[in-house]
């Protein structure tokens, strides 16, 4: 493999990843070992586990949209013990750090769950303070800077592994939320989750999801999330992990240029179970073509002409 010629390694706080590509929570499970070598991934991010058992939402749980999909799975979970005993062992021999995604109903439950999961074999915890399906009317911790700070601060007091805060895009000012998470001690941000959406069948007049509303993912949301990665990366010093609509290596590069240090891939894996491997190979090819020796050089390397607006206005003044 040509990976030697390009250094794909990235650093997320104290964690060093051999490449910047990892799955988005909810879009990955050990079943994908049937379609790819999990050891090639930069990290493994499992589906959100909750302290209490949850059965999930009524079907239909997915609906196709233009260039994307809606889901309202509802975080089915068998609880923390089941996770530790039955999920974690699947990845024991896989040479990629395991990141446990955790979701909970209160800041205290979040803290207790993250403490319980601060275990050997779990390299970091992604605090899913954003899933739009869990709270009534789609509200979540990460929709408010105060609730974000409270949850992350509570988690940081108890957890003994790095904490990534997964933000929701369903906010007016994502940079404010990003700063709140950083202030509370988050080690990295994951930007972002699905956009709350809804679809109705015009012929049957029924919502297309059993849960009525759900999260929109796929290429349709990529420009929105790339903008948010850009805003968050400018607002904080901790690493940002971009997550939204990445289908190809070029899409991943777009997130990196906007300010992401690593990327998560979700919906693309549903279309091709080995999509992440194709993206890793594609990143090597991109770096070779563009003479990039270290992929970390791409983070925030978007070329913005800071003087363009001033020059434009000066030019415009000369017009009639």
């Amino acid at each position: 493999m040509a990976e030697q010629s390009v250094n794909l390694g990235v650093r997320i706080g104290s964690l060093i990843l051999k490449n910047p590509v990892m799955p988005a929570s909810g879009c990955f499970a050990h079943e994908y070992a049937q379609a790819m070598d999990l050891g090639r991934l930069g990290a493994l991010v499992t589906k959100s586990v909750t302290p209490k058992r949850r059965i999930g939402n009524p079907v239909p749980r997915v609906a196709e949209t233009d260039a994307g999909m809606l889901n309202s799975i509802g975080i089915p979970s068998n609880g923390l013990l089941y996770y530790v005993d039955h999920i974690v062992p699947h990845y024991a021999g896989v040479p990629a750090p395991l990141v446990a995604s955790v979701s909970a109903d209160t800041a205290e439950e979040f803290a207790a769950a993250c403490e319980a999961l601060s275990l050997p074999g779990i390299a970091a915890i992604e605090a899913n303070i954003s899933c739009p399906n869990i709270e009534a009317d789609g509200r979540a911790f990460a929709m408010s800077a105060r609730d974000t700070h409270r949850a992350i601060a509570a988690i940081k007091r108890c957890a003994r592994v790095p904490i990534w805060a997964k933000l929701t895009p369903n906010v007016a000012d994502i940079a404010e939320i990003a700063r709140a998470a950083e202030d509370a001690g988050a080690d990295a941000l994951v930007v972002a989750n699905t956009l709350l959406g809804m679809a109705i069948d015009p012929h049957t007049r029924k919502p297309k999801l059993g849960n009525v509303m759900g999260g929109l993912s796929g290429p349709a949301i990529r420009p929105v999330i790339v903008r948010m990665v850009f805003q968050c990366a400018r607002a904080v010093r901790i690493p940002v992990i971009g997550c939204g609509g990445i289908m190809s290596a070029e899409d991943a590069v777009e997130h990196l240029l906007a300010g992401a240090t690593a990327v998560q891939v979700g919906t693309a894996s549903f279309l091709d179970p080995a999509a992440m491997i194709g993206i890793i190979d594609g990143l090597v090819a991109y770096c070779e073509r563009h003479g990039v020796a270290r992929i970390a050089e791409l983070t925030g390397a978007v070329r913005i002409d800071a003087g363009l607006t001033d020059r434009w206005l000066r030019l415009a003044q000369q017009s009639g």
Binding site: G26, C27, F28, A29, E31, Y32, Q34, A35, M36, K47, I55, G56, P58, V59, P60, R61, V62, A63, E64, T65, D66, A67, G68, M69, N71, I73, P76, T204, K206, G210, G218, S269, F270, L271, D272, P273, A274
Partner: protein, 266 residues
């Protein structure tokens, strides 16, 4: 890797009647060797100006082989995905992911099997026909369709010997009140070792009520088709408990007795 993404070439693609189309693919791997009756593939239906399907479409296999790289599908042109698929021409490329799911159980020791199909459900069970015929297992089939024009009996049997009972909506013979005594008689007289069904909840309920030993191939909306996304769950009875199972990877074939009633959507 057991499950791959394969760029296949369209060898044949033609209408078998007004609503159903037949598709034969040449695959870049010997998929016929690893594909079982009842399994399915995820098809990337081609995007065009008219149709823009985003997700792949799960489709059960209609024919396996005889050449080791040949896979066939038989499908009802109905929604956006199948309308997009329908536009493929001979020589075009179609990306498929699979083989996926768990297929039907079968034993060459059996004397006779009963296949109860409704509509396009017959395509899912069609790979059982050569399996049974080669093993010398007798085949009895109840085929239910809208009308004789929709039946596809030849497409189902492909010259294999079978006792066929065709019933239709057009003459009322497919009504449950008339199918029930037919099924009762076949169960009593022929004592099939296994009953298979696909394509109708009503026929499934009828077979459940008769407490047959059998299997059903189920459908459910899905995204990943590999057990990851958890969108395709249904409720099943197992050991006195009600449990959720993923249709994509724990099925799509399940014991008839295990299927629990559905919560109706809407």
């Amino acid at each position: 890797m057991m499950i791959g993404t394969h760029a296949c070439r369209v060898l044949e693609h033609q209408w078998v009647n007004a609503r159903y189309k037949y598709l034969r693919l040449a695959c870049p791997a010997p998929l016929a060797r690893s594909t079982l009756a009842g399994q399915f593939y995820q098809l990337a239906c081609p995007v065009s100006d008219a149709e823009k399907p985003f997700l792949r479409r799960p489709m059960s296999v209609y024919g396996i082989g005889p050449e080791e790289d040949r896979i066939e599908f038989l499908y009802h042109v109905k929604g956006m995905g199948t309308r997009a698929l329908e536009r493929l021409r001979r020589g075009d490329t179609l990306s498929i992911v699979g083989p996926l799911g768990r297929g039907f159980s079968f034993s060459a020791q059996w004397k006779r099997v009963l296949l109860v199909a409704r509509g396009v459900g017959l395509a899912t069970m069609a790979p059982l026909v050569p399996l049974a015929a080669r093993a010398g297992v007798g085949i009895t089939a109840v085929l239910s369709a809208r009308s004789p024009a929709d039946l596809m009996q030849q497409e189902f049997l492909r010259a294999a010997p079978a006792r066929v009972h065709a019933v239709f909506d057009s003459d009322g013979s497919s009504a449950l009140a008339r199918v029930e005594p037919l099924v009762e008689r076949l169960l009593a007289e022929e004592q099939p070792d296994m009953v298979y069904t696909c394509g109708s909840n009503r026929l499934l309920e009828l077979l459940q009520a008769k407490q047959v030993r059998g299997e059903v191939a189920l459908e459910q909306q899905m995204a990943c088709a590999m057990g990851v996304c958890l969108s395709c769950v249904r409720l099943f009875n197992e050991g006195g408990d009600k449990v959720f199972r993923r249709v994509c990877c724990e099925g799509p074939v399940f014991p008839i007795a295990a299927v629990a009633g559905e919560v109706q959507f809407g």
